[in-house]
């Protein structure tokens, strides 16, 4: 029985590796927690944690669009821009390529609260138009990508620019940390949901972070550099 199970797992891994090789995954977004992955309690828990930010964001948007209704069009286009941004391929220091999260750039351009709404709609689109991430896990993904990432990125950026005054360095750190925070939070979400038999949540966090956050460091660096280039040119524009 157990041997059959092991065999089954290995077959599954082999199958997925083959899938990887045959279909060049045009989207290595594999980084959002997939549909059905979180146990019911945690799926619900992260929805509850995410909702207050969402509601605050919606209220902020209603306030600013009441005064100038045209801003709705701007925000909608900004959201579409963010979606397309997250679908671009960027080269990584390690030679492979991946997708930017765009949360750092978005937070610096549009502010963190609007980003929590725009980011969650982007995630909804990724779930409903691409099957990246999922509906039950949308709360968890939105918390890591649309709340934690933008807020940390924005705070770091603001703090650094106040203390050092160096624009480029602040942008780089903000964007790279926004990206990294997103994946650290994802790792925490997975760790608390799947504690290790040996060492509990901490050990589990080490394992998940090893897969989802440490591998992300080169990409976070790429995204930081990219954001610096983009903002530099935008200001010159």
């Amino acid at each position: 029985m157990n041997i059959r199970k092991t065999l089954a797992s290995f077959l599954l891994i082999a199958g997925i590796v083959c899938f990887f090789l045959v279909n060049e995954p045009e989207s290595a977004y594999a980084m959002h927690i997939m549909e059905g992955f979180l146990p019911p309690f945690w799926a619900l828990f992260w929805w509850v944690v995410f909702l207050p930010f969402f509601i605050l964001g919606v209220r902020a948007l209603i306030r600013i669009t009441k005064e100038t209704p045209e801003l709705k069009l701007m925000l909608g286009l900004a959201g579409a821009f963010t979606f397309v941004l997250s679908a671009l391929k960027i080269p990584s220091v390690t030679g492979s390529s991946s997708h930017p999260t765009g949360t750092g750039l978005g937070a610096i351009l549009f502010g963190p609260l609007p980003m929590s709404v725009l980011g969650s709609v982007v995630l909804l689109f990724q779930a409903l138009l691409l099957a990246h991430g999922g509906l039950t896990t949308l709360g968890a993904n939105a918390f890591s990508m649309a709340v934690a990432g933008p807020f940390v990125g924005y705070a770091v950026y603001k703090l650094m620019i106040k203390s050092t005054g160096r624009q480029k360095l602040s942008v780089f750190t903000g964007a790279a940390l926004a990206d990294l925070t997103t994946y650290l939070v994802t790792s925490v979400q997975l760790a608390v949901a799947f504690p290790a038999a040996d060492g509990g949540m901490l050990a589990s966090f080490a394992k998940f972070a090893g897969i989802f956050a440490v591998t992300q460091i080169p990409l976070a660096i790429s995204e930081g550099l990219l954001t610096v280039l983009v903002l530099g040119w935008l200001q010159a524009y």
Binding site: N2, K5, S9, L12, I13, I16, F19, F20, N23, E26, S27, A28, A30, M34, E35, G36, F37, P40, V58, I62, T65, P69, K72, L73, L75, L77, A78, G79, A80, F81, F83, V84, A87, L88, I90, P91, V117, V121, V122, F125, L128, L129, A131, G134, L135, F194, A196, A197, D198, K207, G210, I211, F212, L225, L226, L229, V230, W233, L234, Y237
Partner: protein, 269 residues
């Protein structure tokens, strides 16, 4: 582009005409069953939903399995973390009652327990069942009709409006980005790490400029059409669900629920 392929199918499947509220409600019930059910029930949900999508809605199988496989990448990536346990090689505390040692590294023993194996197998079943439900919605319901469902469940108006505008423009902006990237490649760009990073940054800047240009244009365009404050959706019109599907849906959900209760009662789950 995957985005366009899925979007196109969502408008061109045999279930296009069926009420989106019914489809989403149906998928919702099965989501709950996938979460609450035991592995046999989850397997049944997976098989049944796949049947609906592939056979009844006539979604191309190749695309269906491609999306399914693509989503499983996340599961595959987490397998090491789910299965492997690391224990300090003290020689005493390693609970090997139901596991195998894979190897040792320094003071660490790497092993797999039967418990984590069955947990992972269970997770695989749940993930598959849930994915089948998601894919049913994804392939059979156009996003514009999902908006009607969102309106029904009282999503704030602003979110619906933003979703609407975003959906209207993602294809346009994605095409623009793709075209710019092609032009860069034609001119020898997108070469190496530094070049790739620079060209992508240029592309983003340009795309941002184009987006803001679109914003100005759209403001004029909509103002000339009398845009005031709200962008109203057309009122929802329910299309009837063919009785044959209604019957199968309701019967199936009852049978699966009954099976789950029976399994629970017999102590299997």
């Amino acid at each position: 582009m995957m985005l366009k392929r899925i979007d196109t199918i969502s408008y061109a499947n045999a279930f296009r005409g069926i009420s989106p509220v019914w489809k989403c409600g149906f998928a919702g019930c099965l989501f709950i069953l996938s979460y609450a059910g035991a592995p046999p029930v989850q397997a049944a949900v997976f098989g049944w939903m796949t049947l609906w999508t592939l056979l009844y809605a006539r979604v191309p199988g190749k695309l269906y399995w491609l999306v399914y496989g693509g989503s499983l990448l996340f599961f595959a990536a987490s397998l090491p973390a789910l299965l492997l346990e690391f224990g300090k090689n003290a020689g005493t505390g390693v609970p090997l009652s139901s596991g195998w040692i894979i190897g040792t590294a320094g003071p660490w023993t790497v092993y797999v327990t039967g418990e984590s194996l069955s947990r992972t197998a269970g997770l695989f079943m749940r993930v598959s069942a849930c994915l089948a439900c998601l894919q049913f919605v994804l392939f059979t319901t156009p996003l514009l009709e999902i908006l009607q469902v969102m309106k029904k469940i009282r999503m704030p108006q602003i979110v619906i409006e933003l979703t609407l505008i975003m959906y209207r423009f993602i294809f346009l902006l994605a095409d623009t980005a793709h075209a710019m990237r092609t032009a860069q490649r034609c001119r020898g760009g997108q070469n190496g790490f530094a070049g790739g990073l620079r060209d992508t940054a240029l592309l983003i800047v340009h795309l941002f400029g184009r987006t803001m240009q679109r914003y100005r244009g759209l403001t004029y365009g909509l103002t000339s059409r009398g845009f005031t404050e709200r962008i109203e959706l057309a009122p929802y019109e329910a299309a009837p669900v063919p009785p044959r599907y209604k019957a199968e849906g309701v019967t199936g959900i009852f049978m699966l629920t009954a099976a789950q209760i029976w399994l629970k009662w017999r102590g299997f789950a």
